[in-house]
Amino acid sequence: MSAPAATIGAVGRTSRITLPALAATSLVLVTTAIVFVFFVAPTDANQGFSQRIFYFHVSIAITAYACFAGAAWQAFRLLWKRDPLADLKSYVCVHQGVIFGTLVLITGSIWAKISWGRWWLWSSDQLVLFLVLFLFYCAYFMLRFSLDPGPQRANLSAVYALFGVVLIPVSFAAIRLAKDIIHPVVFTLHGPNFGGWILVTYCISQVALLVLAYTLYRVELAGKQLDGRIRELREVLA
């Protein structure tokens, strides 16, 4: 039967770019980024080989921030324009952000183990503030799933997601405001602290991770929309 595939395809087709095209682009970009990270980018004179974690670690962190910002934007749309799909989009953005946030913490800890000899440093404001941001968004799910589906849950989740976005600039600025510079500063007010192939590799990694996150977002959103439609259909047929 061709109906299921057609249905999933139709639900996933909410944008001009189709999911297979996005998935193929993500695959090509991530593969290119990995090739650049390990075979093109030069080894850093100060940090040595361990600096290569930075390409994905920073890109994933910025992708997580983008996901949380996207969640806040959709939450704002829900509260302002009462867009019924915005609640689901906001939820999927937070989910993506938490997944990428987990990766930031894992890759950051691995880098810390190589460079500092410890998995975690409570004295680093950047680390602690990112952990606070991460836990704040983990609590979003506790709030959301403690309420019955409906306008109340959508509104409370939207307000929570909007509050969370305040933590993003705080987390981003923490390293620049901190007195004790433990965590490396990659971007300053004068631009990035690197150039040449390092900058090219970083840009490719950043684009790859953003496209990957957008692809995963679209897949998850399509699945959740289809799930919702099936539930409605079941109720009609019951």
């Binding site: 994905f56 990766l103 894992i106």
Partner: protein
């Protein structure tokens, strides 16, 4: 392989594994949804057939 190389490889493997697990979970979920759509699609003709069967007329009022 130096210690730094091992850790860097581990970091990239973790990223790959997390994305792979996520994609697998989504694929399984989409398979389940496809089965549910199949199940619902099978039910629709059956109900159409039921509507086509002649109904007993009943006087109202």
């Amino acid at each position: 392989m130096t210690t730094a190389e091992k850790y860097v490889t581990a970091a990239y493997c973790v990223v790959f594994a997390v994305v792979l697990v996520y994609v697998l979970i989504m694929a399984l979920k989409l398979q389940r949804l496809e089965r549910e759509v199949d199940e619902l699609a099978d039910r629709v003709p059956a109900e159409d057939d039921a509507e086509e069967t002649p109904r007993e007329t009943a006087r109202v009022g």
